[in-house]
Subunit: 206 residues, 2 copies
């Protein structure tokens, strides 16, 4: 039924993910412990283990949500009139930067070594992450077949390199290393320029 205090929670998994996202956002990855999370949701220590094998799997689910968001950004960008691939790319990049800077802890988790290398990424995470990148690579490929890139270009390599630029900028920005927040707008525009140059200006040779 719908009593307030029931032994079976109803949809604990969703509640855990929701609360975990809040904790991650507000207290950072260090503040996100399973014990604290369980308490916030109003459930005992070990309850989460019936919905996630261990903490790593919960983190993977949180990361997967983030990639879902990025993938959505790709789709939204497609709403821009399709004859203007450049403007589509620009729209995607802006959304990407906005996402990374508004949820830095989530972004850090999504692309962090703990999930991908130290631990083993869950199948769900790998699938959504790879498909997000594939969608991006397809857009880059589209720009090639559209004549905006030299015929001989390797679309995969260009996608990797341009994504890496975007990714690197986000990391440096959200971690506050070489790029401070005051520069952000300007740096964003510069990165868009650089990526567009990489992807659409005819290059001297190869």
């Amino acid at each position: 039924m719908s009593s307030t205090s029931k032994y079976h929670h109803g949809d604990l998994r969703a509640a855990l993910l929701h609360e975990a996202a809040l904790l991650l956002r507000n207290e950072g990855i260090d503040g996100l412990s399973l014990r604290k999370l369980a308490e916030k949701v109003g459930v005992s220590r070990m309850a989460p283990y019936h919905h996630f094998k261990d903490k790593h799997e919960l983190l993977c689910a949180l990361a997967a949500q983030g990639f879902d968001h990025l993938d959505q950004l790709m789709s939204d960008a497609n709403l821009v009139p399709s004859d203007n691939l450049e403007e589509q790319l620009r729209s995607f990049v802006r959304g990407y930067l906005r996402f990374a800077t508004s949820q830095p802890e989530r972004y850090d988790l999504m692309f962090g070594r703990p999930i991908w290398k130290t631990g083993t990424p869950s199948d769900e995470l790998k699938q959504i992450a790879y498909s997000t990148f594939r969608h991006y690579a397809e857009k880059v490929g589209g720009m090639i077949s559209n004549g905006r890139l030299p015929e001989g270009s390797n679309p995969l390599r260009l996608a990797q390199a341009s994504w890496a630029t975007l990714h690197g900028l986000c990391r440096l920005m959200i971690d506050g290393i070489y790029v401070n927040a005051m520069d952000m707008d300007e740096v964003s525009e510069e990165s868009i320029r650089v990526m567009l140059a990489m992807l659409s200006v005819e290059r001297t040779d190869k």
Copy 2:
């Protein structure tokens, strides 16, 4: 003197840093605990606290060592005949990629959010990190005044953008997200190409 078991260690700080670097390399950041470290060095739990305020400070020192290494790479690159700035840059990039891939855990620590944003970077770390980047920016600036870049270019922005590309590629590579090891050589060459394209619009060789 030099007895094997003496109450005062002699140079505990250096011994700690040395062993911590080994631990970081071999077992990853998760395997690097102060207790385990103290035991390896043959000293009690709390001994390290007389040389580092807390764990964060020790990690900062480890990161600073890494930036020292990068700075050394910059200097080494200067040994290349100075009339060939492009080759200097290429040399630096190759060394940079080699460093990141050979010591991924260290690289992750150096640029990781836990040190820079979650915690407060030590003054020593900030100083060496910023000066390393400044040296890089100066090289980029040199390429501008050398006529290899359009006059109106903003050297700081170009330095940020090109470093970001390099950084992003390293992250994606060492975290094993979109770029697997087999692609590495090819991706490295592509990234060098991209960065050179970014930094010198009119290049003739290669």
